[in-house]
């Protein structure tokens, strides 16, 4: 991207300023993420680089905080590491349980958000759908309304969904969702649906409606047309929407604080209480693992996308 030969001095100077600004943006974006990684290998209980670490002394570095992720919360963390120790860890270690919860809630809420969001996007793409803009705005609103407000509302509603019958003078208590997996999954699905709707709607804009007509003219009913023609073509949008929904659930803490009970401890909630109660570089170890996990997730999706485009005979862009 060299400058053309006719560029003036001012243009050349501006180019350097422009590059400096770009570099600054990247530094501020990436530095906070990068700096966490070496700190998580700290041998001391500090959030700063010790003298030993800076002089690259092996004693200044350790994996103790990664180890503590496994042992923290175990009944007998110091027992010999045999099968019983591993069983104890799998059942009792707080971070391990948080990871299990996060994955379960993430996967379940992603599945729910993806199915509902895709269906909503398909319906909202049809010109004969009444009140399209209003419905779209309502479905997107969890992304725009501050999460603390959504979470407060959810907390009151989920504590007693039947409370709405109070409006007609009937006072009943039933269907409590707060403190259950179902409640957290539903809350996260609601937060994830806007991402799915937006990505699938964007894909549908480029979708050639005559393909659906062509399928019908060839004898395919609506169901076959959907699964064999529409679905494969909007899959990239569905997958990236699902990815956003998963990440939303995976790093969400506010709704979890409001709705989850003690059984639904997720990684962000564990980090939250960890930061409050016993501040230690264990948090940094978790952060490092999450960074690696996110990169792997994004890379996997990108590889799938390229493969899909290659299969479709397009050159990956």
């Amino acid at each position: 991207m060299a400058l053309p030969t006719y560029a003036t001095t001012l243009e050349r100077a501006w180019r350097w300023i422009y590059l400096a600004i770009c570099t600054g943006v990247f530094v501020f974006l990436i530095a906070p993420i990068i700096v966490v990684i070496p700190l998580s290998f700290n041998a001391e209980k500090f959030f700063t680089f010790t003298r030993e670490m800076l002089s690259l002394d092996p004693d200044g570095w350790s994996l103790r905080w990664y180890d503590s992720l496994l042992t923290f919360g175990m009944a007998q963390p110091d027992a010999p590491r045999d099968a019983r120790w591993w069983a104890d860890m799998w059942a009792n270690a707080k971070w391990v349980n948080a990871a299990k919860n996060s994955l379960f809630i993430g996967v379940a809420s992603t599945a729910l958000a993806t199915v509902l969001g895709t269906l909503a996007a398909l319906g909202l793409a049809r010109p004969e759908m009444p009140f399209r803009r209003l419905i779209m705005a309502l479905l997107i609103s969890p992304m725009i309304v501050p999460i603390i407000i959504t979470a407060t509302g959810m907390f009151f509603f989920y504590s007693n969904p039947c409370g709405m019958f109070g409006l007609v003078g009937v006072s009943v208590t039933c269907g409590k969702l707060a403190g259950t997996y179902a409640g957290v999954i539903m809350a996260h699905a609601i937060l994830g649906i806007p991402f799915v709707i937006i990505t699938v709607t964007a894909t549908l804009i480029g979708f050639d409606q005559s393909l659906a007509r062509a399928a019908a003219s060839l004898g395919a009913g609506p169901r076959r047309t959907f699964f064999h023609i529409i679905m494969p073509l909007i899959l990239p949008g569905v997958v990236s929407g699902a990815l956003f929904a998963f990440v939303t659930s995976f790093d969400e803490v506010v709704a979890v604080l409001f709705i989850a009970g003690p059984d639904q401890q997720t990684i962000p909630r564990q980090m939250w209480s960890g930061i409050r109660d016993q501040i230690s570089p264990a948090i940094l170890a978790v952060a490092t693992l999450l960074v690696i996990f996110s990169i792997a997730l994004l890379a996997a999706v990108e590889l799938l996308r390229r493969r899909g485009e290659r299969l479709r005979g397009l050159t990956p862009s």
């Binding site: 050639d208 005559s210 393909l211 007509r213 062509a214 399928a215 019908a216 003219s217 060839l218 004898g219 395919a220 009913g221 609506p222 076959r224 047309t225 064999h228 023609i229 494969p232 073509l233 299969l311 479709r312 005979g313 397009l314």
Partner: protein, 367 residues
């Protein structure tokens, strides 16, 4: 009942109307019978209702009023995927995530054909359009003309009795388009399917069709064979829409069975064949085809009436010359003459006399 439907009324539009907004009619009282094995073209400018008619026949639009019959059966309440009508779309509408072979196998899979049968039929259909070696390619790897052939093969692979084509050659360049016209016509002859073809290209309609329905303003203006349509247009719209046309406005002076005497704008009197003029004193547009006009006195047809003309410009078009002239007050009067050896050259400003056989001048309705 089904057999007695007869091959002349294979597709029937019976008083069909269509309105999108409930107020204005896009299609106004359409009555049309299409024979089995016929190649019928719906021709008209955009917005004339021709594509809407095709979409109603395919089942993607419903008729607001009236019935559409296919092979003696009312298909108003049959969904598109159960009509068994092949369709070729303007933008090809090939499935981009499937190979050419999978695209063609799709309608056969839907119909539950066994695999071996499917493969044989796909190969036969690909051979038919000379595309067999592209079976494992994807549509994105094919050129426009190749995609068009695949779309054609896909619409025919399940042996439909009726095939609809919605401006299928619109996106191709001129040479390829002419070649594909020939191929489609040839396939139609070989397979004996009924084809309903929609286009706004009159050349395409004239070269391919058995009959042409000229649409304008939601109505069929004329339904006739290509030669009838070109040589004997029934109204000014058809005369103006099909081919090049000279229209001289005038008033009917005298009328008997075979001829009408028309007084042109500059007071000159000419003979014309009355087509849809009813009475003396009526305003009329006299339509004359540019290639039926002669200017060399020794070649003038017998009984020709000549008028004075002033050449405005002569355009060289290779095989022909096209001269624009001032005739009877109109300075948009066009004459075409062949570029033969020894042809008389005309130059702008030249005064000549042009003439035509009275039967070639058709007195039509004023627009």
């Amino acid at each position: 009942m089904i057999a007695s439907a007869g091959s002349r009324d294979y597709v029937v539009f019976d008083h069909v109307q269509k309105s999108y907004d409930g107020r204005s009619l896009v299609v106004k009282d359409l009555n049309l019978s299409i024979g089995q094995g016929e190649f019928l073209t719906m021709l008209g400018p955009s917005g004339s209702g021709k594509t809407t008619c095709l979409m109603m026949l395919a089942g993607f639009e419903t008729a607001t009023h009236g019935r559409i019959m296919l092979d003696g059966r009312d298909i108003n309440d049959v969904p598109p995927h159960k009509r068994g009508i092949g369709m070729v779309f303007q933008n090809y509408a090939l499935f981009p995530h499937m190979t050419v072979g999978e695209n063609l196998a799709f309608p056969l899979e839907v119909r539950g054909l066994p695999r071996a049968d499917r493969d044989a039929r796909v190969m036969r259909a690909l051979d038919m359009v000379q595309m067999a070696r592209f079976r494992d390619r994807r549509p994105a790897q094919l050129s426009g003309g190749q995609q068009q052939r695949i779309a054609l093969a896909r619409a025919l692979v399940f042996d439909p009795k009726l095939v609809l084509m919605d401006e299928p050659l619109g996106a191709l360049d001129k040479q390829l388009r002419e070649h594909m016209q020939f191929e489609i016509k040839d396939l139609h002859r070989r397979l004996g399917v009924t084809v309903v073809y929609v286009t706004h290209d009159q050349g395409e309609a004239l070269t391919m069709s058995d009959r042409i329905a000229v649409f304008n303003d939601g109505r069929i203006q004329q339904l006739a064979t290509p030669s009838q349509l070109y040589e004997a247009p029934e109204n000014s719209f058809v005369a103006g829409f099909i081919g090049e046309n000279n229209a001289l406005s005038g008033t009917v002076e005298r009328l008997d069975g075979q001829t009408a005497l028309v007084r042109l704008a500059n007071g000159e009197l000419i003979d014309a064949a009355p087509v849809n003029v009813g009475e003396v004193g009526q305003r009329t547009l006299v339509s004359i085809r540019p290639e039926r006009i002669e200017f060399k006195p020794d070649l003038m047809p017998e009984g020709a009436h000549t008028v004075e003309a002033e050449v405005i410009e002569v355009i060289y078009m290779g095989d022909i010359f096209r001269a624009r002239m001032k005739v009877a007050g109109s300075d948009d009067f066009v004459m075409k003459f062949r570029n033969t050896a020894g042809q008389v050259r005309l130059s702008p400003g030249q005064k000549i006399r042009v003439g035509w056989h009275p039967q070639d001048a058709r007195a039509l309705d004023p627009v």
